[in-house]
């Protein structure tokens, strides 16, 4: 693209444009006068004797042509188009988007204002607020968390009562607004393949899964020295760190063999921040909607 950053090309485009317009005007003028013998027909003859009269167009018709030239010139002065000329009106696509967004926000402001006075608990029981919340959810969240909020592999299910980062309205709002980064460090190098399997067996046994009892016993010792720092001695997790509860049969990254992979390679999960994209009112409505999903189960 570097060739387009040269000032020459802007000038080139401007000159081509202006010359074309002037040439059009000259062509129009030259074509509206005929020099030579008076011609009454176009000169074509069909079917032996069928000729076409060269009836002149009305004069206002040619004015319309000239009008387009005037329009074109005025447009090129007012709006960007002539090379890198910005136009005297200062119109830009970004400005257009901003003004349209502002207009839409102004239009929908009364809708959100109604909900502003209500707390999240009340909103999560208000059908109108939930209808708006669902629309926001389907547009902004469903790509990862699925249309029903049930999530998928690597993307948390929002319809259960298990919260990685806490289920308080304030915490959910913070998750949506500022995003979260969940990190499970890899232990494959530090522990070795065998010990990873031991830990995995223990973790699977925590929620009642079938596992080798010897490996479970060995794994427990490793867990109590390595994993407890984040997941807790009772393995109930720690919402302050986003460490999941390992006792509830809810597997964000899959169970069984996937647990081994999670321990040996680690995981990094990213919930993007939305405060730049969604207004505070919209985030509150989304919080209420998300809460209503698990409340209904």
């Amino acid at each position: 693209m570097s060739e387009f950053t040269s000032g020459f090309w802007s000038l080139f485009i401007a000159v081509v444009t202006v010359v074309s317009i002037v040439a059009c005007a000259w062509f129009l003028k030259s074509q509206s006068i005929r020099r030579g013998p008076k011609v009454e027909t176009t000169g074509h003859i069909w079917d032996e004797d069928l000729a076409e009269y060269n009836n002149p167009l009305p004069r206002w018709w040619s004015w319309l042509f000239y009008l387009t030239i005037v329009f074109g010139l005025a447009y090129l002065v007012l709006y960007p188009g002539l090379g890198s000329w910005k136009g005297t009106l200062g119109w830009t696509q970004v400005g257009e988007l901003k003004s349209e967004t502002e207009k839409a926000e102004k239009q929908f402001a009364p809708l959100y204002e109604r909900f502003a006075a209500m707390d999240v608990d009340a909103l999560s029981r208000n059908p109108e607020a939930l209808a708006v919340g669902q629309k926001l959810f389907l547009n902004n969240c469903a790509q990862c968390h699925a249309s029903d909020g049930g999530g998928s592999r690597g993307f948390p299910n929002l319809t259960d009562r298990d919260w990685l980062w806490g289920g308080e309205p304030k915490l959910i709002e913070a998750t949506i607004a500022h995003g979260r980064t969940g990190v499970m460090p890899p232990f494959g190098q530090a522990l070795g393949e065998d010990k990873v399997k031991d830990v995995a067996s223990y973790v699977i046994s925590l929620s009642g899964g079938a596992a080798d009892s010897i490996r479970v016993a060995k794994g427990r010792d490793i867990y109590m020295t390595t994993c407890f720092a984040c997941h807790g001695a009772d393995a109930k997790g720690n919402p302050a760190l986003g460490a999941p509860n390992l006792t509830d049969r809810i597997w964000l990254h899959g169970s069984d063999a996937n647990v081994i992979q999670t321990i040996s390679r680690g995981r990094v999960s990213q919930m993007p921040a939305h405060k730049e994209l969604l207004s505070e009112a919209k985030i509150r409505l989304l919080t209420a909607y998300v809460l209503s999903l698990s409340a209904s189960r």
Partner: protein, 445 residues
């Protein structure tokens, strides 16, 4: 003569001409009456329709903002745009058929350009007088001319603005629009369209008139392709009329030039069929009046060429027209006022859920096309044990559309990994025959 001796005459000749103003003379008669009947019929519909009420709303309203198009008992959605296409096809075929049978009957009687020009010419006649009075007035001094011209343009503008208002009334509820106009509080687009359509009416019917037909209308240029020897056209009977004159052994044409004076496009029909002729039959009425006074037989200028109706062109046009009209009527009658789109969630491919089941998530876009609230039952078929989990009933208010996320579950055993075709059914509860089906797939990992 030695050709080289003749000097080549060169002169500058403009290829653009200045319009010569036409002063059509008032005419009465059978065809004038018919034309006025057409004016009344079309304009009562145009000006009156937006004021009718149906189901406690405007009967005919094209609600562009909400993408709902009301036509009496029917509600059309953007998905029904095929009906607009069909309507245009029917209109075009009707035009072809009528042209093949009766020439430019549309141009002469029903085209909005003709109809509004007729109304505007009537206003002009009432205020400025008939042809001769108008010619005289245009030559009079400014003081005499001004009051009448001002009155005429005021009346024209009033009709034009009312037309613009009515036009916008098809898009915005006309009663609310009326209130806004009275309070001078119309929105920017409403104001623009009222003024734009009003200006177009005023300009085309008041100023442009025959020039619209001569220079702008494409139909005027290609309809001669639909003419044949049986097509009805207005013709001067040259055999009977010529040589024209007033005394001695001459033809029936007395050269009174009434036919030229009444012509709204300013042509002389005695020169034969011309593309400017819009087939309004004003010259037929004018000539018949003169023939009556002279005690001669009517029809020196008349509709002629009316031959066989049962000819291939007419039959083919009629057959196609009939087939499309019947198909459209059947389709409208059988139309199910319910639409369903199934969008499978792409992020969550398949979930294993408790009870050894596999779950897929879908978003159903449901559109209730009738003006009453209805409840719908969602079901799904295609795999053994397949079912909608949770609520399978969705309530929809009148004429609304919404997105419903649903979970579909299948017992994991016996379903091989891969994509399996399934079908959703949406059935209105308690209403016979309101049911739609939509195909989708179920994915097992």
């Amino acid at each position: 003569v030695n050709l080289r001796d003749i000097p080549i005459r060169t002169e500058e000749q403009s290829l653009y001409e200045v319009r010569k103003k036409i002063y059509p003379r008032a005419v009465s008669g059978r065809f004038a009456l018919l034309r006025w009947a057409a004016v009344w019929a079309t304009q009562l519909v145009f000006y009156g329709l937006p004021w009718l009420t149906w189901n406690e709303r405007q009967a005919v309203l094209f609600d562009i903002v909400h993408r709902k198009f009301y036509l009496f008992g029917l509600v059309f959605w953007p998905q029904d745009v095929i009906y607009l296409t069909v309507l245009l096809i029917i209109a075009a075929l009707t035009l072809f058929l009528f042209t093949a049978v009766a020439g430019r009957i549309w141009c002469g009687y029903a085209c909005p350009q003709t109809v509004y020009a007729e109304i505007f010419m009537w206003i002009e006649r009432v205020i400025e007088g008939d042809r001769n009075a108008r010619i005289k007035l245009d030559k009079a001094c400014l003081g005499t001319r001004l009051p009448r011209k001002a009155a005429k343009h005021a009346a024209w503008i009033a009709v034009a603005l009312w037309t613009g208002f009515t036009f916008v009334g098809y898009v915005t509820p006309i009663k609310e629009l009326g209130g806004e106009v009275l309070a001078l509080a119309t929105g920017p687009w409403e104001t623009f369209w009222i003024l734009f359509y009003g200006f177009a009416t005023y300009g085309n019917a008041g100023w442009m008139r025959e020039q619209v037909c001569k220079y702008m209308c494409p139909y005027a240029r290609f309809q001669s392709a639909m003419f044949d020897r049986d097509t009805l056209v207005i013709t001067y009977d040259a055999e009977r009329g010529e040589p024209r004159g007033k005394k001695g052994q001459v033809g029936d044409c007395v050269d009174c030039s009434i036919c030229v004076q009444v012509c709204p496009t300013g042509i002389d029909i005695r020169d034969g069929l011309q593309y400017e002729c819009i087939g309004c039959a004003a010259c037929v009425d004018g000539c018949n009046q003169v023939m009556d006074k002279l005690g001669r037989e009517r029809g020196l200028i008349r509709y002629s060429g009316m031959g066989r109706l049962l000819r291939p062109r007419v039959l083919v046009y009629s057959a196609i027209l009939l087939a499309i009209t019947a198909a459209t009527a059947a389709s409208l009658y059988l139309r199910v006022p319910l639409k369903l789109d199934v969008i499978r969630d792409r992020a969550a491919i398949a979930r294993d859920v408790e009870g050894g089941l596999v779950e897929n998530v879908y978003r159903l876009q449901v559109m209730n096309g009738v003006e009453e609230g209805r409840a719908f039952d969602i079901s799904v078929t295609g795999l053994s044990g397949i079912h909608v989990w949770g609520g399978a009933i969705v309530g929809m208010p009148a004429a609304t559309s919404r997105s419903v996320p649903i979970q579909v579950r299948v017992p994991a055993e016996g379903v091989p990994p891969g994509s399996h075709p399934i079908e959703f059914q949406l059935r209105a509860i308690g209403v016979e025959g309101v049911e739609v089906r939509e195909a989708s797939v179920f994915i097992v990992r």
